[in-house]
Amino acid sequence: MRNIITIFKRELGSYFATPVAYVFIVIFLIMSGAMTFYLGNLYERGQADLSPFFQYHPWLYLFLVPAIGMRLWAEERKSGTIELLMTLPISVGQSVIGKFLAAWVSIGIALVLTFPIWITINYLGEPDNGVILAAYLGSFLMAGGFLAIGSCISAMTKNQVIAFIITVVICFLFLLAGSPLVLNFFKAWIPQNIVDAISSLSFLTHFVSLAKGVIDLRDVIYFVSLIGFWLYANTIIVEMKKAD
């Protein structure tokens, strides 16, 4: 635990020592604001809720979270600091978790800083704030899912651009796993129960109810196990590829 905190603090410090965190936060705020008001028509809808805000989060995360995740391990391998890190008395698992949490918290900070939208909607009407809080939690969980994929892919390569692109593609597949586009493609040649399994892996399916403020334990378990799975794979890949 102590080691995880040490890694977490170092990593978070380096996000804010470089422009990474600031750029991420500013872009996230601008984009989420723009989508909410222009695409989501928050005002014109005349309803006091934040679904126009949350419904675009999956698409925002699709590009922004891989941008945060790509450097997690690729940079460490490229600069050789991985040799330092891996010869300190810290286990690989602790490093993986510490780094992941630091990046996740940066995203969390960006999410918290969207509070003016929440204030606006409370000013305009009387939204159900419990629903909004649940949607925030759901959004944060989903960001964690994207990030765990990004962290794992980042460990496979020294090249951050490659890490970014592959992560976007995988996240895109996870997003759309429940959509007709993907399902029709599979339906033609694999059994229905596997198609259903693929569909149940979809980020969107699990996020939609969370974004409505319905905290279904199954959705939470889905995202938590997704994060666990990718971070576990991340640990194995770091072990395998650290010295290449």
Partner: protein, 240 residues
């Protein structure tokens, strides 16, 4: 103490280290010599637990590096080749990170930080980001990191590379001063360093140990007196 038995490392078809065995006792400073690509860094990476050996075993202070890596790593201070460190951090922040990892606390933490900063003359660059430091200062930050927790075992891969003559001298004095109760392995291409600080030298080439002897012993094996000539003679196959 370090015990290495039949250590081998293969990268695909290339055998970087082949059947290397040796032991190092506390108080010894072992100079690890050999031409470029001989396998010095690879051996050090295996001792410090960064690379897994293809075959053979390594024991550091009674702990097998493959089985009890964390215990072994706690007792090792390591300067990797090229002294990598986090560029966006300042030396103060970096040493604070290492302090936390090494779990130094209280007065010991303050004393050790002060001491290494003074020993490696880091006081003037403490608050400058590491990526903007000159090569020699980067190396000194790496050395500070390696000795901070006063480890029983020091593995230094080319510690004086890139240092100015005064700093080279001081780092050698530093190594000498901490040597008496420690196991120290240094790799170097500066052969006068072997005479200056090493109590023993191992020369490897193509992953194999050619000579394992004291500096005096090396001299007696060769017709030459200068270390450089002895090195050339041995590694080009005149003696083995």
């Amino acid at each position: 103490m370090i015990k290495i038995k039949n250590l081998t490392k293969k990268f695909g078809h290339l055998t970087a280290v082949e059947d290397v065995s040796f032991e190092v006792q506390p108080g010894e400073v072992l100079g690890f010599l050999g031409p470029n690509g001989a396998g010095k860094s690879t051996t050090m990476k295996m001792i410090t637990g960064f690379l897994a050996p293809t075959a053979g075993s390594i024991e550091v202070c009674g702990f097998d590096v493959s089985e009890k890596p964390i215990e072994a790593k706690k007792r090792i201070g390591y300067l990797p080749e090229g002294a990598p460190s986090y560029g966006e951090m300042t030396p103060v922040q970096f040493l604070e990170f290492i302090t936390q990892v090494r779990q130094l606390s209280g007065q010991n933490k303050i004393d050790r930080n002060k001491e290494v900063i003074q020993q490696l003359h880091l006081d003037k660059v403490l608050n400058q980001s590491i990526e903007t430091l000159s090569k020699g200062f980067k190396r000194r930050v790496g050395l500070a990191q390696a000795i901070l927790h006063d480890p029983d075992v020091l593995i230094l891969d080319e510690p004086t590379d890139g240092l100015d003559p005064n700093q080279k001298f001081e780092v050698r004095e530093l190594i000498k001063s901490i040597a008496p109760d420690k196991v120290i392995i240094i790799s170097t291409h500066i052969l006068s360093e072997v005479d200056a600080i090493c109590s023993r030298a191992i020369i490897i080439a193509d992953g194999k140990v050619l000579v394992d002897d004291t500096p005096e012993g090396l001299r007696s094996k060769s017709s030459c007196d200068k270390m450089d000539d002895i090195f050339r003679e041995i590694t080009s196959g005149h003696i083995s």
